[in-house]
Amino acid sequence: MSPSASLREIALTPVRVVMGLIDAPLRALQKRTGLSGMALFFLAPNMLIFGIFVLLPLAINFVYSLTGGSALFLPDRSYVGGNQYERLFDCSSYLDPLTCQEDAFWTAVSNTFWFVVLQVTFMILAALVTALILNRNLAARSFWRAVFFFPVLLSPVVVGLIWRWILQRQGLLNFILYPFGVEPYTWLTDRMWSFTAAVGVSLWAHMGFYALILLAGLQAIPKDLYEAADMDGTRPARVFWRITLPLLMPNLIVVIVLALIRSVQVFDEVYILTGGGPGTSTLFLTQYIYETGFVSQPRNPGLAAAASILMGLVLVVLTLLQLGLGRRGENKGKR
């Protein structure tokens, strides 16, 4: 026996002992319940945890949104009907957040809207270009793929801190711009620049993920189609519009909807980067929910729950959109 195999034996022995010990009572259980009983036994731990920590919260979230006060536990809270929703929607003009009673909520909604529009647009464009380039006949393709994928694994806190460090006054960006005569600037204290940075940093952090899915889609396109086009002397632009893009469509739709869903929930890296500021210029929906429910004094779980349900509705619509479009895309691919 090779040394590594015997090492593995030693490491696995305790596992074997435990699994063997569990086996006896489970055999007894199996005798009494039969096969379908065992199926439920296997399913139970996952469903129990899932039920307590996902399904139950989903259900009581609605109840929370109908109650008021700052108490945390449901029995201590008073029923207020639709007051929380009324408060969220109490606006003289929906286009101007400052005319609303909950101006922070509408600021967050409008910030999130513009963030989603800008981030997803640039994300898809950059991911598509990256995927097309990585799909070319490159040397060391897996290296280049890794280059673009690298930031995807970094934690949002690390991403936020890296860029906060770069965008500060003595940072790398000012250092690079210095020779061009740009005075050192604290980028994150400027409303417009800090929003731009939020979009840019989240692009940097997630673009590789979408590029990877698109690359997989490109590689699944049969090569003989390109060979045939080559023999016919088809122009490259025409090949792209007539072969590549239509066949990539199912993946592109998945990527767009996935990017939309993630983008609506933007929080971690931007929160670390800007803390929502300066002012409320980078305050997004998740941060509004978090701060309303947990940080503000007095905290308002009912209002936070109502806002989170509204956000959940947007996500449900997007998910249904994906399921619908995805099915159509699949059929297209088959034909």
Partner: protein, 350 residues
């Protein structure tokens, strides 16, 4: 050599550079700089002293002013290159600075201090790594504890995820029972339920269970991942049922079938899920931030965010802690990247 370069830089046919070749290389080189540059800048910066961090324009590599101990002075003095009135330069140590002038002594022959205009002196600097940025946080910030908490959460959550998800996937792929499609539907429907939608009620449930300010309160809500069940079930569906039937004939119990036959055959999918789970749990931020309010329970991510949010940010410590926080993920990236990329490309899950 020429052929190697020719191979690396091969073009879209023909002798001349097509515009797409130029775009490709601009994009690739630009990508290389933009994707790796920030992380490298972080690593270089993390070795700088607080004084070097406050400089502008900054140096790329960590430099520090050199100091010497001079006879007759208690503290080490900073060394400068001084241009003397006669045009020669000399290494002198600064005793103190008075307005626009500084008093300097020659380290070799410390005698009367020389008065020098501060415009005529430049600090002598050498490459030096401020490793105390890495050692001091362990003493000052309970950094070991945060590291330990993060490792505990990551390892426990991943182990439990693997066990409960694989059991559920086994039930959903290898048994016929009433309610199976309903269970599958629930799992698929909640694939997209994000934390931000349920954080208020989830927090009250955690508190009711007494798991507030408890690492298990961070671990438990994350372990029953629909994603994991989904990946494992898809993989287990490819295991032939005949294997299981044969084992039943040999009087194997269902439990034995699960852990002696199905689990070993699912190893590749388990590996992918394990890698994902480690990265997810290591990087988790918002939920630990809500559940953990006592300092000694912070995970690395929470600790970093709290210390970087302070009024006087001690950047030299924050940067080095950020680098340490990055290490496990970078290791995963270097050694296991292939699993992750195929996992994402195959399932579209993150």
């Amino acid at each position: 050599m020429g052929r190697t370069i020719g191979f690396i830089l091969r073009r879209r046919g023909g002798k001349f550079w097509h515009w797409t070749d130029i775009v490709t290389w601009v994009w690739l080189i630009g990508g290389l700089l933009i994707m790796f540059g920030p992380a490298l800048w972080l690593i270089f910066s993390s070795f700088k002293t607080p004084a070097a961090l406050a400089e502008f324009p900054p140096s790329i590599l960590p430099y520090a002013s050199q100091q010497v101990t001079v006879q007759g002075y208690d503290k080490p003095l900073v060394l400068y290159d001084v241009t003397l009135p006669d045009g020669t330069t000399k290494k002198l140590a600064e005793v103190r600075r008075i307005g626009l002038f500084s008093q300097m002594v020659d380290p070799q022959t410390p005698g009367e201090p020389i008065r020098v205009s501060i415009n005529d002196r430049k600090p002598v600097r050498a490459l030096s790594f401020a490793t105390e940025n890495y050692t001091e946080p362990f003493v000052h910030f309970d950094f070991f504890r945060y590291l330990g908490n993060s490792v505990f959460v990551t390892v426990m959550a991943t182990l439990i995820t693997l066990v409960v998800n694989s059991m559920a996937a086994f039930a959903l792929s290898k048994y016929e029972f009433r309610g199976r499609s309903f269970a599958m539907l629930i799992i698929l429907a909640t694939l997209m339920v994000p934390l931000s939608v349920i954080m208020v009620p989830l927090y009250s449930i955690i508190s009711t269970l007494g798991l507030f300010n408890n690492l298990w309160g961070v671990i438990l809500p994350t372990v029953a991942t629909p994603t994991g069940v989904f990946i494992l079930r898809q993989y287990m569906l490819t295991i032939p049922d005949e294997l299981i039937d044969a084992a039943r004939m040999d009087k194997a119990s269902e439990w034995q079938i699960y852990w002696r036959i199905v689990l070993p055959l699912t190893a590749p999918a388990l590996a992918v899920l394990a890698i994902f789970s480690v990265v997810w749990r290591w990087n988790d931020f918002l939920w630990p931030l809500i559940v953990l309010s006592r300092k000694e329970l912070y995970t690395l991510q929470v600790g970093l965010s709290i210390y970087s949010g302070e009024l006087n940010v001690q950047w030299h410590f924050i940067l080095s802690m950020t680098v340490v926080t990055m290490i496990p993920v970078v290791l995963v990236f270097i050694f296991l990247q292939r699993f992750i990329t195929t996992g994402i490309a195959g399932t579209g899950l993150k």
